[in-house]
């Protein structure tokens, strides 16, 4: 009876939903791939310093005249400039708020001291951690998955509803004997169908290209994705419940989504925000979704462990849906 199928005939939407996250993951994955630790560019102004600093493999040393060196430092082409001080001392000029500058300072100092004959009193060796599951890409893929769930649900719901209202298609539909709940149901079903594709593509891409692990059960992951997607759909429905133009709807949606993109830990951990706002961030649906996805994929957590996040998502679902039903305008 419900033949109300959403058709996949919007090439732009397809791009944003499927291709964009993959491009993003690929781009970021390459940018943060497992390369040897950064080789930092530094400069000196004397041949002696250059020589001793060249012993350090993690530094790339250039010898410049002092004007050019100052210039390079100011424009960020080099992370650190080593100049001779008085009495054979060395002066390091760098920006101490820049992590690269601080790293360069430590490396350069070690090279200078060793060249001058310092012997380390304790022998130390390095063990590199490059297991799948602890790299940046492993952190990123669940984040992108969460972002994708949010984006496609809110956009998918919001734009189509508002567009149909703008074209008076909603009005035309309620002028038929169509039961109204079928209209909602049709969105729900097409959303679930799309969800399988979206999640499959992002996870498949992560697993094939970057060997991102899924340590928890796939069923649990599916439940998290479904609940997340439903919550975001309800949010999308709420945002679209009144808006009459695409512009108004898109402004609303961006206003809601942008803070979450930034605060919810898609690209970097949400822990970096001050403690005061942490409860607020934790209450955002995207934070909950991403935390749950990361817990499942990276730590193999089961649903019981994700109960707080699931609770947050369910609360958003219920509140938004109830509000949307109350506010929704068919015309």
């Amino acid at each position: 009876m419900v033949r109300f199928r959403e058709t996949l005939r919007e090439p732009e939407a397809l791009f944003w939903i499927f291709v964009f996250p993959i491009l993003l993951a690929a781009g970021l994955g390459i940018a943060f791939r497992n390369r040897p630790a950064d080789v930092l560019k530094i400069a000196t102004v004397t041949p002696e310093l250059t020589k001793s600093l060249q012993q350090e493999k993690l530094l790339s040393v250039q010898q410049l005249d002092s004007n050019a060196a100052e210039d390079a430092l100011r424009t960020g082409k080099i992370a650190l400039l080593a100049v001779p001080g008085s009495n054979g001392a060395v002066v390091y000029r760098y920006d101490d708020t820049n992590p690269e500058g601080r790293t360069a300072r430590m490396l350069a100092d070690r090279a200078v001291q060793q060249a001058a004959g310092r012997v380390d009193p304790v022998a130390a060796s390095d063990q590199f951690l490059r297991e799948p599951g602890s790299r940046y890409i492993d952190f990123l893929i669940p984040g992108l998955l969460g972002m994708n769930l949010m984006g496609s649900a809110i956009w998918g719901m919001g734009f189509t509803v508002v567009d149909a209202r703008r074209k008076k298609l909603l009005k035309r539909l309620i002028a038929t004997p169509m039961p109204k709940q079928y209209f909602l149901l049709s969105y729900l079903l097409s959303r679930i169908l799309m969800l399988v594709l979206e999640v499959g593509i992002v996870l498949g891409f992560g697993a094939l290209i970057f060997h991102v692990p899924v340590r928890g059960s796939l069923l649990d992951l599916g439940v998290v994705c479904l609940l997340g997607s439903l919550s975001f759909s309800a949010l999308g429905l709420l945002l679209a419940s009144r808006a009459k133009t695409i512009e108004a709807a898109s402004g609303l949606m961006n206003a809601v989504m942008l803070p979450m993109w930034i605060a919810s830990g898609v690209f970097f951990s949400a822990q970096r925000f001050p403690d005061i706002v942490q409860p607020l961030i934790k209450a955002l649906p995207l934070t909950a979704a991403i935390d749950a996805l990361r817990a499942n994929m990276l730590q193999g957590a089961n649903l019981a462990h994700m109960a707080p996040q699931m609770g947050v998502l369910a609360a958003w679902l219920l509140v938004c849906f109830a509000l949307a039903l109350k506010l929704f305008r068919w015309r």
Partner: protein, 314 residues
Amino acid sequence: MLGSSPKAALRVSGLRKAYQDVVAVSGLDLEVRAGECFGLLGPNGAGKTTTVEICEGLTAPDSGDVELLGLHWNSDAQQLRQRLGIQLQDTQLSEKLTVFETLRLFRSFFEKGPGANEAIELVQLEEKKNSRVGNLSGGQKQRLALACALVGDPDFLFLDEPTTGLDPQARRQLWDLIEQFKLSGRTILLTTHYMDEAERLCERVAIMDNGKQIALGTPRELIASICAEHLVAFSAGSNSNALDIPALRRIEGVRDVRTENGAVELQVTELHLAVPALLAELNRQNIPLTELSTHSATLEDVFVALTGRHLRDE
């Protein structure tokens, strides 16, 4: 037909609806007989669409009563929906669906009615069956909208400005289709601001202005009601101020004279007497004549006679 009176398919009484500070419909009574094509005429903003949407159950009236096919919206909505065919003013159907898919979708909402293929034949869109809606012309889209209104095999058809914005050829094509449906005995309520459309399609018309009905009858009755069968228009050019209007009124066969920006319009019953007399009178007043024309009175002239305004004055 069900209901108290077997003849009325739609009965509206004391209908009133206001939006914020604008009164769209103020105290409207209407009766549409079963099997007739009833026209609701009026300029934009007259309250036609609001009236129709109240009858369609899409808008709740502030007060007043609507009885449709003997049923009422607050008690029999689901039953009514099954029996109505509705075409709304400028609905845009989903552009990514094909004609066939759109009709199959709409057909799925109704219990009975022609199949999607049959509906496509009814509106002569066979060639476009698998085209996407976005690629149709304006006339084809309107025909598709009409087909969507027909898939439920409705007893009552609402057509809200079905030909607005179409080119003359597409309008005539749509009129032909609507005339065919009239033959099948359906009751039709049509709104339009094209008087020629109402004259051609409707058995009876009600003229609306400012939310009220100002005239009701067959197109012929309405035209006869202004007591003039012909209109004579001429321009007096720069001499219009010198024109002796009362003298024109005294000409035999002239019912009324109106002037507008130097153009003069006479309502005339006997053209063959009035025109020679008019020419003689203008000659006597020594006014050179430019742009003389005559036409048979239309509903447009009825509207002008009733309101002093033209229909498409915005």
